[in-house]
Subunit: 314 residues, 3 copies
């Protein structure tokens, strides 16, 4: 193993962090990471940031081991699911070496599962988005209830009785905080400052991506408030992160920006909010989070019809 | 927008109502609607009938907006999912303008989701049946528990403890009522008179369809009684509506009627009863109804093997 | 119906029992059956063994009725799902003639559903494994809660609160018992002697299959103990049976044995343990068992990527 190959894996891993929001840029990935470090230390969960680093590197290596020559590696497509695995495990499970072993196992698996899912979906000209992360992480979070040494410290308790929690402070300052947290929660970070990091990181690579992240978070906040969705979830940005990804995916990644695709994306973003609420209910008896599942489903539903809206760069 | 195009959309919408039971006929659709109006006013839920109208029109328009030139429009294939969305929302959710906005949104979405699902299933030479309605409506019914202003007024309470409710009156008159309600519940209407409307509406377009609706409702009633299924569900026709659709779909729509296909359809109708019971249990912890999910799954299971039974008109 | 055709159906059914663990050999099937009879009589559940016989024969006949000329019949591919249906129904449901009618219906259906699922999965060069058994049996087990005469005698109670049960005796003798039960539970039999029957039966047809059954059961036992999974499940071999199938499937059926495929199979076997734990949690609110679902999912996930590991005999 040469210094060059170590450097290449580092670059591919950083690009993988950027690909979580569809940006093939290690600069974007590094600023994302800076934001994650800021937010996770602010929340006294430094293990989340280190998990992101470990997840990105492990999943990138796992990809190269099985497919050394594919262009996916340098494009960062091996690392984005593992990055999210690395954020999720320390967020929900207790910080033991059992958890870290499972994290490494799951991060590697997410890359191989991505290939499995992509092979399935290739027939319909869509891909698996972040669903490999969602699926494999669900498995381990659920497993934690059957395994004494993989304890579900920060999972919510399974329940049949959903209680909408508290009232919402709708002062302008608070709304801005919720709006920025909607963006930071893409990496499971609960910090408005991290949200600013992420907007900057997107703008470095694509102004359109930065615009759609901001616009989609705003739309989802408006819809969630209009329908009086769960106040504590709104305040933590939990109605925002999936719509943000839907917005970037449809608004400027899979379609070329124009008025038709913009309108289509807005509809998809609104649908994502209802999918988020619906999946929250669906998973309440299981006591596990939806992760980015609502984004995946919404994006597939609005991508699979393959309507001709002057499609473009993918 | 000319008077002619308004008239065409009306005709396509009425045909869409007919397509809920696979009949490409606006006369059938109009008699269905008459039955829905009768039953929903009888049950003091007029909003269900108006919901059906709104759902049919909105989903038809949504289809034309995205695919103006496809033959699906005039065939009524844009409208049938939306019609059912329009019946389901006012049945289960409280009658507020929040609900109507969500209904319009979901009815439009059901048409686009149909295209998404059909694109996926085309590879196997089957289609998505009423599953776009089922899926999108599940999302909003589940979402209603996380959104204060989309209240789940008439959803059953989530539970882990299924209690089989009461005893069944098996006098001949009662059995006839259950049998007819099995047909009326296709549109979520709990009225035996509406069941008669629906049989007439089917017979106008296809005697075979009317026969299979009646026969399948009778078979499902017999199986449900034989296995002592939940009495209150039997009495409301809730074990009948999915088998009715399975019967029409396999008995005379996707296969040409003959003895082999008839036997195959009877087996599928019986399987639908167990699927209905199984999905009822599956959804009990979620507190949402199966809608026509059992029909979709049963029909796929007996259609996907693509056995040669002297297939015919599709 | 001639004596010869009766004999052929018997042979095809016995081969079907063998195909549960991927062995196309009626000798293997017959020794499996001997083990099932031993274990089910030992556990005072003779109906399980007779269920296996009925299930194998019915599903084989059902296959021949619809596809008389396909090579699947003599290869035992009609019978393996039905065999498992026949083991599962008397294990979980009360021993009434209602249950036996449902068993026959479901066993037949499992063969047709296999064709449906295989048609779907053919595009990705994988097959449905034992999932037709899993899916159809789930439907009837769930249905048993809605039907008074299909009583769920031995299903666990639906719960949101998983309690890890007792402590584990880790003496060497106990570990050997758990290890052998991990193999016997493939046919839902809780007997270490049956586990020995099964190893012998596999060795008759394939030494590699016997090796992977033993090795996979050992790996899964180690992982389950390491992570302190539910002690009573470990002691009954319930963490072992799905990994055993994953091991045989990937280790020597779909891939040719070599070091690369062996390593890949070990990773898949470990993943199966976490999938088992995860699915246990997922199904706790429903109160139904995972059956061989974890094996199916794990094997698909590690098969679908279609990595080139010097593939071989399939």
């Amino acid at each position: 193993m040469t210094i060059k190959s170590v450097f290449n894996i580092g670059k591919a891993s950083a690009t993988g962090v950027g690909q979580v929001m569809f940006q093939q840029s290690y600069w974007t990935g590094l600023i994302f990471l800076a934001g994650i470090f800021w937010g996770s230390y602010e929340c006294h969960l430094p293990q989340v940031a280190w998990g992101a680093v470990v997840g990105a590197v492990v999943s990138t290596i796992a990809g190269y081991l099985m497919d050394p020559d594919a262009p996916d590696g340098s494009a960062g497509l091996y690392g984005f699911n593992g990055t999210l695995v690395g954020c999720a495990f320390p967020t929900f499970l207790s910080n033991t070496w059992y958890m870290w072993v499972a994290l490494v196992f799951c991060a590697a698996m997410s890359t191989w599962v991505r290939k499995a899912f992509n092979n399935v979906m290739a027939a319909w000209k869509v891909n698996s988005l972040t669903f490999p992360f969602v699926f494999t992480t669900w498995v381990f979070l659920l497993a934690s209830r059957m395994m004494h040494d993989l304890a579900p410290d920060a999972l919510s308790y399974p329940t049949l009785h959903i209680v909408l929690d508290g009232t919402l402070d709708t002062s302008f300052g608070s709304l801005v905080v919720y709006w920025l947290k909607g963006i930071s929660q893409v990496f499971l970070v609960d910090s408005w400052i991290t949200g600013i990091f992420f907007i900057v990181a997107l703008a470095v690579c694509s102004r359109w991506a930065a615009f759609w992240a901001m616009f989609a978070s705003a739309i989802s906040l408006a819809v969630a408030i209009l329908y009086h969705a769960d106040p504590s979830d709104i305040a933590s940005g939990l109605f925002g992160f999936s719509p943000v990804l839907t917005g970037i995916a449809l608004g400027c990644t899979f379609y070329t920006p124009n008025w038709k695709t913009a309108l289509w994306t807005v509809i998809a973003v609104i649908a994502t909010v209802f999918l988020q609420a619906g999946m929250d209910s669906f998973m309440a008896p299981l006591g596990i989070p939806t992760l980015t599942g609502p984004f995946c489903i919404a994006t597939w539903l609005f991508w699979l019809p393959q309507y001709k809206l002057q499609t473009g760069n993918k």
